[in-house]
Amino acid sequence: MQQCGIFHETYQEDMAVFQTPFVKTGMALLFVFLLIFPWIAKPLNAALRTNTLYLMNLIGIYIIGAHGLNILTGFTGQISLGHGAFMGVGAYSSAILTVKLGIPFWFSLPLAGLITALVGMVFGIPSLRLKGLYLAIATMAAQFIIEYGMRNWTGLTGGSTGMVVSSPSLFGFAIDSDRSYYYLIYTIVIGATIYTKNLTRTRPGRAFVAIRDRYLAAEVIGVNVWLYRILSFGVSSFMVGIAGSLWAHYVLVVNDEAFGIWLSVQYLAMIIIGGMGHVLGAIYGAIFMTLLPILLRIPEHALTQVYPGIFAIFQSLTEGVFGLIIILFLIFEPDGLAARWHTIKNYWKLWPFSY
């Protein structure tokens, strides 16, 4: 049962991330669920006829990237249309570091994050002088320039054929199955989530939010707006770079086609649908955007049986449905799934005496 009120007696209690026994139990249950999921996955696979573990891994990778974008867009209010390409930078730098320089995965993973952070910060420099829409255009240009580099710098990236990457291994134990990679990804997902949650409670986090809400006022009270904007770009790109590196060593082939502007739009859609500026928002959004194409396949299958010609049309409609969902969310639920969940929760908290 839920408590009817929260009464804190110390500052430590007041500052705690998980405040009530109810939430703590919920988190513990979630943790246990994540721990045993690979064993649940097998019967689930048979029932749903998809590789659920693979989907979970994809969701995990997207959660890390979406947390990154959420820090930049949700917390600092800087829009980025280049995060798809930044993820590509992470993937390619990890691939190049491991394949061409022979650096082990455990070093190339953070290094890929750092390189991406650097690239992100360079393209974040215009944010010193540019506001919302100018920045959107600048990052969109970054997207195209990086994409071009990935495709045409053949000597470094292998051009359009891409690069073949190997799986990581830990103490001689190869992390090459869906299951072992699952644990690797979710260790990082949990770390990234805790980091993001904590970031909002620190000095830089508060500076980010101040800049988002009113950057002139933030400047007046002594926040170094430029520094924190660049920092936000750095942290954000670092996380998306990590996601890219994880993606590269999971899919094992790095190709420029995966990191087009479409991915950037998907990332933005994730945090908008999930809820900008909510840590949970990135998670909901990543789950939603990964499962949506799978869910769309159900009516597609059903209809293809009746009208075989409809398949091609459905192929192109998927993107349109994404677009439509973005539009509908922005018009009817601009705060995203996280806010909707909050409303539902509050409603049931007082039910049936909600007056």
Binding site: I79, G132, I145, Y148, A269, I325, L330
Partner: protein
């Protein structure tokens, strides 16, 4: 001597394509000035226009002038629908939401086109005479020259429209300040709608012109992205700047394609405008004619 002819040829082709960019950029700037909406779906409006015209000409065998007018009418209806049902609920929302909603819109339009017409490239029936013209050593397809002339005609028509027509003046007033325009009895809602209509119409014209040169397929919407360098160069809120920016970007893009492709292994044309864009943003973010925003605390 050869090099100079090559240069001239690149410049002429660039001017033709650039004039179309200028035309589309005009629509973009109009929407931005009137309602502060950055329209990421401009390229898709262009693509839809090109496809509708193509379908009218080839599937329904309509003569060109009728097909052209019907396309413009269709664009107006499309623009009014978009403005009323997608953009109007968003008035007063943060920039990020508005940018995202136009991106969503572009996805919807793109999938609408590809589900009806597929993704294969389609050849436009020739509207202008195709035979190449030779002047000295320059060989330029006539299409480029007609394209340039056609976009210039449209630009002049719209310049006159803004300068002298009642509606045009109302639009300029609303662009200057929505509030003052409202208090003068101008319906700002109507101005928003009209600016979307004009944007859709110029985009459709641009789509038909470009489609005539390169053929029509789904990547035509990429032209809409080239508009960004043009408007940033010209200044985001300057109509004249947008047109000039379009011309300059068209020429620079063609020159970089002609001279730098050897060094970077092709495709420089696609990325050069964006490199220029980043450089402009770094050194002169408000472009050639844009109003600089000065903030005082």
């Amino acid at each position: 001597m050869n090099e100079i002819w090559f240069l001239l040829q690149l410049i002429i082709q660039g001017l033709a394509i650039g004039s179309v960019y200028g035309l589309v950029a005009l629509g973009f700037v109009l929407i931005y000035k009137a309602s502060s909406v950055i329209n990421f779906a401009q390229g898709e409006l262009l693509m839809v226009g090109a496809y509708v015209c193509l379908a009218l000409l080839t599937t329904f065998n309509v003569p060109f002038w009728a097909g052209f007018l019907l396309t413009l009418a269709f664009s107006v209806v499309l623009a009014l629908t978009i403005e009323r049902f997608v953009l109007r609920p968003m008035i007063g929302e943060p920039v990020i939401s508005i940018i995202m909603i136009t991106i969503g819109l572009s996805l919807v339009l793109k999938s609408f086109v590809s589900s009806i017409w597929g993704v294969q490239i389609k050849v436009f029936p020739a509207i202008f005479p195709q035979a190449p013209i030779k002047a000295g050593q320059i060989v330029v397809s006539q299409v480029y020259i007609y394209t340039f002339l056609a976009s210039m005609v449209f630009l002049v028509v719209f310049a006159l429209f803004f300068k002298y027509s009642r509606l045009g003046i109302a639009m300029r007033a609303a662009a200057n300040s929505n509030q003052v325009a409202l208090s003068m009895g101008i319906s700002v809602k109507r101005v928003f709608a009209v600016s979307w209509c004009v944007a859709a119409v110029v985009s459709a014209v641009g789509g038909i012109l470009i489609g005539n040169i390169n053929g029509v397929n789904i990547t035509l919407s990429a032209v809409g992205l080239k508009v960004f360098p043009a408007v940033i160069l010209g200044g985001l809120d300057s109509v004249a700047g947008a047109v000039l920016g379009g011309l300059i970007i068209g020429i620079l893009e063609n020159l970089s394609g002609g001279y730098l492709d050897h060094f970077f292994g092709g495709g420089v044309k696609e990325v050069a405008p964006f490199v220029i864009l980043v450089i402009i943003l770094m050194i002169k973010p408000y472009g050639l004619f844009g109003t600089e925003e000065i903030e005082r605390v």
